[in-house]
Subunit: 439 residues, 2 copies
């Protein structure tokens, strides 16, 4: 330590303006204090939290970055503080955060943000603004917490075309599915456990309905493909309707259910979406349990690469924010915001989701009478869906019918939906058919 102390004193300071001082802001401040000598040894500069914008000045805080850190609850004061080198936006949402970011970029101040919702919805506008003013807009913390996926796509994999990307991007959903799988719990019990452990918020909609993962996927599609795939056009399906019985049945076939974010390119078209899907238990992503995140990339040069780590939490997310701050604190480097030269990325060439192809899992609840299995299989065949495996199970209460599970070979989603529509009209169907993709 002593070796570096006098170095530290003579190093220039990077003044940070931190908007929002909740979990991630506190994690960032702790990391900067704990590792200050280390950071200075790598960076040649001292990071200083100069000003913090908070909602409530009177709230008791357990951690204060520095004795001379200025706290304010006034956005104008925050924005007009001179000497701020980098603005760190940790408020979230698309209101005040949008104002702070656009005004900071417009005056040439670099911005680090963890705000995936804002970037998913307003990314093109914000990146164009950053480009116009030649400022940095960095967002490593927006996707998969501490996992360096943004940097990896922008830099390390920059020479690769990413043929396939499969991600577990929401730790809350992954924890819930892991608990349902390992303990046979139903969804609501597992959700309550996630709340008790602090993995799920009071209103868990964004996490369990796939919206948070879809925000992140929108960012990853840009980074991997250099195209803007509008968030509003992403097919998104959550896990709130997942039943334990399908997890068990899929498990009998050697599959595990995960909430996956997916994008792949086929004939220069992108197919993308967020949905619960089965993957083989031997697949590396199947081994990602609990609140962890992981992203499996398949580059046309590098082959498969997986990055794994904590997708949320004060320190993991703070680590990603810190990496961005350090990258932007370096002298001379032009900012690399999108990973591409164009200030505005072209719109994505979108493959109709109905034309995507994969294996499929179906669970039909049908009357226990002769001819039903044959009728189901017949409809499948008429729609070009080839059955790979099938089982029939008694339900615990026979009056509720029997379960028939089909696993298909690869088939188009369009054909699957047609077949399911036709099957839904059959008199022997006693409950809605459950369907998942097999990736």
């Amino acid at each position: 330590m002593t070796v570096h102390e006098d170095t530290l004193l003579n190093q220039p300071t990077i003044n940070l303006g931190v908007a929002g001082f909740g979990t991630v802001g506190t994690g960032l401040a702790k990391a900067i204090r704990e590792n200050s000598a280390w950071i200075s040894r790598r960076l040649g500069k001292v990071l200083h939290i100069h000003t913090v914008l908070v909602h409530d000045l009177h709230k008791k805080r357990h951690f204060i970055p520095d004795p001379d850190t200025l706290f304010t609850d006034d956005p104008e004061t925050f924005l007009n503080t001179p000497d701020i080198d980098i603005v760190v936006e940790l408020i979230g949402g698309t209101g005040l955060a949008y104002d702070l970011i656009t005004r900071s970029l417009a005056r040439g101040t670099s911005v680090v943000t963890a705000n995936k919702a804002l970037l998913a919805e307003k990314g093109p506008e914000l990146f164009a603004l950053a480009s116009k003013h030649n400022t940095g807009l960095y967002y490593e913390a927006s996707v998969a917490g501490g996992i360096p996926i943004v940097q990896t796509l922008k830099e390390s994999m920059a020479g690769n075309r990413i043929k396939n990307l499969l991600g577990i991007l929401n730790g809350t959903a992954n924890y819930i599915l892991s608990e349902m799988t390992s303990r046979g719990l139903d969804f609501s019990t597992a959700l309550n456990m996630a709340k008790a452990k602090g993995y799920a918020e009071a209103d868990p909609t964004f996490d369990i309905e796939g919206i948070d993962a879809a925000h992140k996927l929108t960012l990853l599609i840009r980074l991997a493909h250099g195209q803007d795939y509008p968030f509003s056009r992403l097919a998104v399906e959550g896990i709130s309707k997942v039943q334990a019985v399908d997890i068990t049945l899929g498990g009998e076939f050697g599959y595990e259910l995960k909430l996956l974010a997916h994008v792949s390119s086929r004939d220069e078209q992108l197919q993308a979406g967020v949905f619960p899907a089965f993957i083989a238990k031997s697949h590396m992503l199947a081994k990602v349990d609990g609140p962890f995140n992981a992203i499996l990339l398949e580059g046309n040069v590098v082959g498969p690469i997986m990055l794994y780590g904590q997708g949320a939490g004060d320190l993991p997310t703070g680590s990603a924010v810190l990496a961005d701050i350090m990258a932007l604190s370096k002298e001379g480097c032009a900012p690399n915001n999108t990973g591409f030269l164009e200030p505005v990325l072209p719109p994505a060439n979108i493959l109709d989701p109905l034309l995507t192809s994969s294996g499929h899992y179906f669970r039909f609840t049908v009357q226990d009478r002769p001819g039903v299995l044959s009728a189901l299989a017949g409809i499948m065949g008429q729609h070009d869906i080839s059955i790979a495996q099938a089982i029939q199970k008694q339900t615990p209460t026979p009056e509720q019918g029997v379960s028939i599970v089909f696993l298909s070979h690869k088939a188009l989603l369009r054909d699957v939906q047609k077949a399911m529509d036709e099957i839904a009209r059959c008199a022997f169907i006693m409950a809605p058919t459950v369907h998942y993709r097999i990736m």
Copy 2:
């Protein structure tokens, strides 16, 4: 594509001098050709393989980078070619490669290399030289093939102290251990399979004796800790003596044997080494099978992070070389070779390997008579080694004695060696004791 074609024509060219045109060089050239429009979209420059240095000009080549690529077998011609922006050293070894790198750096030309042996042995000298001439010396391809571990440690994890690093850094050794584990093969059979599959070279010494992994670990220690841990002082143990029986017995206790590269810091001292060790089957690294590599980092901010991918091969390694070339082709950025400001890193503060602590696995081959188990346990206790689990097994041939396996709680390696020395002198010992660490 047409959108970018006219851009391509007007972009400046980065001329590459590639020394060595074997597997990795060909992989690089293929990647550059296949993805040229894509690279130019990200970089704003065109990569051109200008000159290639080969050993034998008359060897038949299946892939030629460009019609105007100059092939030479004369290092002087190669070095004196004007207009080379970046030298890519893919020859390997510490002879000609050393000359090419030092002379290129000395005249201010940046170097990209995949040469872990050279960097492990001469790193400090080469980094000092690069720093003196303010040139880049990049080496992503030297460690773990296409996995972006160098970039991650230099940039994304730069704000973290890396408390623990555990790596599977040699795909050949991992393939052999995976085959021994999944099929119950002995070492030499699995090695022959690795040779047949092209995973092991004719002389596999560097791979199976842990030397290749130790070269890579030397580089990772620098990147993670900013200290020079001399390669010659690393404790290195290979897998050539591993017996199938220990893999089976460890498996019964829930462990899997892996060749691990390890470094951790304790009280500002580094403990490091390469050795086969048991890890729990539920551990993410235990799931890394076949010729894959993976590195698990534990940062004091980010927590656990794992990176996984192909550790060798033409294209994965070519992808890492390409990433370095693209990073060095950017304008204005000062090179970041070691991840630290100092041109020369301080020597590592090395913890005596004997003072490292872990769990331990012992297999004793002893005479089948009363009192032996108690004697063994007694000696363990005298050396502060606490037994956590034990089993006794008949060997197939009773005249060769019985096997007793102990799994200990955490104990110092020093105490383990003292206990093993004392046990080796006991009359009831019929064969050398087998010992592995449990991480």
